[in-house]
């Protein structure tokens, strides 16, 4: 008995082909994206609405750009304050707290240090962070700006991490590879990443 190809078989083959193409596209897009592997942690027991004042510590800088951490922190402080949701302590006040508590590594304080620091500056929470990538990346003849930042928030009362998130923005996309182009300016990419982090912070 011979099997005669029916209309259903033909349609199935077409769908399979389309599926493979779509899968390939999804894989390719996934490879090109720089946003993979980002996770957010929210402490379910924490009442984020109770936070009134927040101190943003100097960020750790893992990039070759010497001012990257200060630049990102500066943008983050302004944008966090601009939300109006919390009051952000001015950098000088944070500096005073760091000096008073003699923090050896302000970018990565211990829970005890967070508690002591918060008492001095009267903060409800402390945010610290790490700038992992900042600046231009190249691939062949194409270049673009990329930024990668991780932040975590610690509750002042206990020193416990109540929120943590990371964001990566910019980088070379498939379109950049195909058609060239220098990508967005680093400031615009930084703002995107900070906005993404704030969205994650204020997400329910």
């Amino acid at each position: 008995m011979t099997h005669r190809p029916s209309f259903c078989d033909a349609a199935g083959k077409t769908m399979r082909k389309s599926g493979i193409i779509l899968l390939a596209l999804a894989v390719l897009t996934g490879c090109a994206s720089t946003r993979g592997g980002e996770v957010t942690y929210h402490d379910s027991n924490m009442d984020f609405g109770s936070l009134q004042s927040v101190a943003v510590m100097p960020f750790a800088n893992l990039t070759p750009n010497t001012n990257a951490a200060e630049r990102v922190r500066d943008v983050f402080i302004t944008m966090l304050q601009a939300t109006g949701a919390v009051y952000v302590l001015p950098p000088g006040e944070v500096g005073r707290g760091i000096s008073r508590t003699s923090l050896a590594t302000p970018a990565a304080p211990t829970p005890e240090e967070v508690m002591a620091f918060s008492k001095i500056v009267k903060a409800d929470a402390v945010i610290s962070g790490v700038v992992r990538e900042y600046g231009e990346v190249r691939s062949g003849t194409t270049s673009s700006n990329v930024i990668s930042v991780s932040l975590r928030m610690m509750e002042a009362r206990t020193g416990k991490v109540v929120w943590s998130a990371s964001s990566t923005r910019g980088g070379i996309t498939t379109v950049d590879r195909l058609f060239g182009g220098g990508g967005k300016p680093i400031n615009a990419v930084t703002e995107e990443a900070v906005k993404d982090l704030l969205d994650k912070l204020f997400a329910k």
Binding site: D74, A82, P90, G92, S99
Partner: protein, 390 residues
Amino acid sequence: MLLVAAVLASAGCAAAKVPAAGTGGSPPVVSAVTPAPGAPGTIGRGARIAVFPVQNVSGNAASSREVTEDLKKSLAARTVSLQDDPPLDRFLEKRRVRFTGGLTRELGGAFRSELGVDAVLIVSLDLYEAADPPKIGITARLVSTGEETAILWADGTFLSGNGSPGLLGLGLVTDPGVLKARALDAIAGSLEGYLAGRKKAPRGGDAPEAGGGPGYRSKHLPRGLYRQPDVRMIPGQNPVKVAVLPFLDRSARPYAGELMANHFLRELVRWSSVEVVEPGVVRLALLRSRLIMEGGLSFPQADLLGELLGVDYVVTGEVMDYQDPQGYEGTPYAEFSVYVIDVKRRQVVWMSSSYNRGDDRVVLFDWGKTYTAGAMVSEMVRAVTDRFLR
């Protein structure tokens, strides 16, 4: 062909229209200042003025003495009454005055009582580049003598040799001397205008409207900002007292922190609802209280300044970048953030961050391009103060 010629001609005409005392291809940055209503020590044409030696904060080698002498000549030619040099030199030597970037109350009192001087002109060379194309930036302020040391007038001009190239590049300036003369002429003319009672900005109003517009372009507005909702400077009431502190300098440009503070001072003094404390007075308070602001101003430090200077607000911030272009290619770039602390409430009432390039939103024939960082930052700062105070 005709179309191309017409476009070129219009481009040339447009460039040629830029005033000599402007910013080099962009709207004029000159921001003549009127004193706050009721400000003490308002003076007129016959006032005797002492010119401090020019402070060079350009980061480049430049003859400050030459600029000072040329400015004095320019002022004298406009019949501005100047204090003679020998007594002024003796006075500065006797008082051991080394810092000429500000006036303290003690020194102001001595100027009045010993020399009979009505006001001191404090001049700063913010930008000086002799290489082609030359660039120059001069800012100045007039401070009354006596105990009050009120800022009576302030102005600044930033010029670049390629700022107004005109048709076929006929407007290019390659001689730094020509550019310097233009800048000094602009400053002297503006001061003469103030002394003669000709004001560029309305006196006693809420917001200064230079030429009917805000004096900045929308592209220079801050990128992110926070403003305490209940903060408003009310015209007609007692002006709020503000101290502008040097910004934390994270840029590669020498004196960028001081330059930025100077920009804010010039813009804030334009507002009748604000009384800006003379930087010389602020500097002395910082020195006497041994106040070192590592990483910025803390609340106890703001308290101290409030006590020493009687200020309501303190303006400070950080400069990330303040770059002037080298040569004909390139464009200026500046990035800074500013925050204003309400001393009494111990709160940040304003916070904003700004960044711009000189060629932002420039698409055709360099129209709208800014050629010096000083000119660009002036507009950016004007946009910030406008948003904060309006």
